[in-house]
């Protein structure tokens, strides 16, 4: 395995595995509450953080984390309070974040468009040793939240009103989901890039759903698919000169299509199994209305 002889490739593979685990792990909750594109929005906002990092000569990953966390909290607050114009406020936040990133980047001395592109679409071979440490710390946080609080997060994403009546701290948990999604975006930034990170949050979950009937199984399968595509994407980009982000995303979509094609026959087989056990219907319908029956409304 000559691929492991290169230090930069070792770092890239570690980052790829961590992204493969964390992105679907938080993505499943976003998909569950039908906010699949939340990750995309946070990715746009994080661009301002990257620009700020270059401008201030600070670590772009930490700056992106800080800005993404602030942005995700803002998104969550808009969700609470801005019922009528929530989507317009979100659009302004997303595109403001993207424009701000490009603007700040052009103002800095070290930043260039080429630099920005590596953050937008991922660039595995530029993962530095400090980046790996940061990614490990952030990934540990994401795993702790998404696995440790899985019952609570399942409940608030399944039925928020019901969860509030059980007395769970729903607002706090919602904020935690938003912050965790923001952290995941910056974990994944170097591997798949800010514009493609949402794909790795959503596509493995969508693919896993084709086969599974339970939340636990969907979670496990999505993480498995996530790790598989990000690792094979990283290896592919080493041997063939292609960027890692698009390779990973296209692989994930290929797996989704394959599983979706497989799911049709599987569902029909299951339906036949349960049809045999089904009860007969007991609904009684009156045969006809009596003449004096008053049906005026």
């Amino acid at each position: 395995m000559d691929i492991l002889d290169y230090a930069f490739m070792q770092r890239a593979l570690i980052a790829a595995v961590l992204v493969g685990i964390t992105a679907p792990a938080i993505g499943i909750y976003l998909v569950q509450r039908r906010q699949a594109l939340m990750g995309d929005g946070i990715g746009h906002v994080a661009m301002t953080g990257v620009g700020l990092g270059f401008l201030l000569n600070a670590s772009p990953i930490w700056m992106a984390t800080a800005v993404a966390v602030v942005g995700s909290v803002a998104i969550e607050l808009i969700r609470w309070y801005g019922k009528t114009h929530g989507d317009i406020a979100l659009a302004m936040l997303f595109y403001g974040g993207m424009a701000g990133g490009v603007m700040l980047m052009s103002m800095s001395d070290t930043g260039s468009n080429a630099n920005l592109v590596t953050y937008l679409f991922g660039s595995l071979n530029t993962v530095s040793p400090q980046d790996v440490t940061t990614i490990c710390v952030l990934a540990a946080f994401v795993v702790l939240v998404t696995v440790g609080l899985r019952r609570q997060l399942f409940a608030i994403c399944q039925d928020e009103e019901f969860a509030r009546v059980t007395g769970l701290p729903v607002r706090l948990l919602n904020l935690l989901v938003a912050v965790t999604a923001a952290v995941t975006v910056t974990v994944a930034m170097r591997v798949v890039g800010l514009l493609l990170v949402s794909a790795l949050m959503v596509v493995p979950v969508a693919a896993a759903q084709q086969l599974s009937r339970s939340f636990a199984m969907t979670f496990a399968l999505a993480v498995l698919i996530g790790v598989t595509v990000s690792l094979s994407g990283a290896v592919t980009s080493f041997y063939v000169d292609v960027p890692s982000g698009p390779t990973i995303v296209l692989l994930a979509i290929a797996i989704f299509i394959a599983l979706a094609l497989l799911a049709g026959p599987l569902a029909r087989k299951r339906a036949r199994g349960s049809a045999a056990a089904a009860e007969r219907c007991t609904l009684e319908v009156p045969a006809a209305r009596v003449p004096q029956d008053d049906v005026r409304v």
Partner: protein, 275 residues
């Protein structure tokens, strides 16, 4: 109001001394609430005593759903007071005493989940942040048995019928092992077989001493269980007493009450065509 309540409890057969509690389980007084700029509740009084089964009736838009959502703290009151088990809502923390069935047509969400996973979520009122123990799993099993869904526990909720979705949502509330059940239209879109099962489940809960407040569009198979009916119209209570008797064709067995109608004491509909 308190005197009436005590009287009612004394009349209740088979009650021991300890069961007599003068404090109503739910006490809503002079409640007003609006959705947007539209007033939905305009001074609603609602008291439910321990062991009572109260049905909240009314036409679509009368405010009955808003009233129960206000009772569980999901609609803010602009005026009025709400006490649960004698504690003002603001200081109420004992949510494990309440089992809530929100108005839903489905128990499914964006990701597949099994019947058991959804019902287990109800248990969080008791477990909060700690993991599920043996007693919690047993409570989930019992809740599934009660609604007759134990054999479907491992199936995806996506594969269920409308009535079965409703049974899952009720099992989720029962998994809490609540003293007070609050249900918003539990019979909506439920087939006759499921209605009978739900009526049986509710009968057992009531026999076990549970207090029940439920929103209904019509009394249906639950009629024999209901002690009192509160009828709302345009955000005001217009009847509080024995459930209205079904008359005429409405009383026929198997009558499927689906046509739109106004409350029995509603004023005639003015279309403006004759004026």
């Amino acid at each position: 109001m308190t005197e009436q309540m005590t009287e009612h409890l004394v009349k209740e057969a088979g009650m021991t001394e300890a069961d007599r509690e003068p404090v109503p389980v739910i006490s809503l007084r002079g409640a007003t609430a609006s959705l947007g700029s539209r007033p939905v509740l305009r001074g609603v009084d609602l008291a439910v005593g321990r062991g009572e089964v109260v049905a909240l009736l009314g036409a679509n838009g009368s405010g009955k759903s808003t009233a129960v959502r206000a009772v569980v703290g999901q609609v803010p009151l602009s005026e009025g007071r709400l006490e649960l088990f004698g504690t003002p809502l603001k200081r109420f923390r004992d949510w494990a005493r309440i089992g809530y069935v929100p108005q839903r047509t489905t128990a499914a969400s964006g990701v597949p989940a099994t019947v058991r996973e959804v019902v287990s979520a109800g248990r969080l009122a008791r477990t909060r942040l700690r993991p599920l123990g043996r007693a919690d799993r047993a409570a989930v099993d019992r809740a599934l048995e009660l609604v007759g869904m134990a054999d479907r526990a491992r199936d995806s909720v996506n594969a269920l019928s409308g009535g079965q979705h409703q049974r899952v949502l009720i099992a989720r509330a029962l998994a809490v092992e609540p003293e007070l059940l609050i249900m918003d239209e539990p019979m909506a879109g439920v087939d006759v077989a499921s209605q009978e099962i739900l009526a049986g489940t509710l009968r057992e809960q009531v026999a076990g001493g549970a207090t029940v407040l439920l929103v209904l569009h019509e009394l249906g198979p639950l009629e024999p269980l209901i002690d009192r009916a509160v009828v709302l119209r345009d955000g005001c209570v217009v009847h509080d007493g024995p459930p209205p008797r079904a008359v005429g064709q409405h009383a026929l067995p198997g009558h499927d009450h689906v046509h739109p109608h106004a409350a029995h004491d509603a004023e005639p509909i003015r279309t403006g065509l004759l004026s």
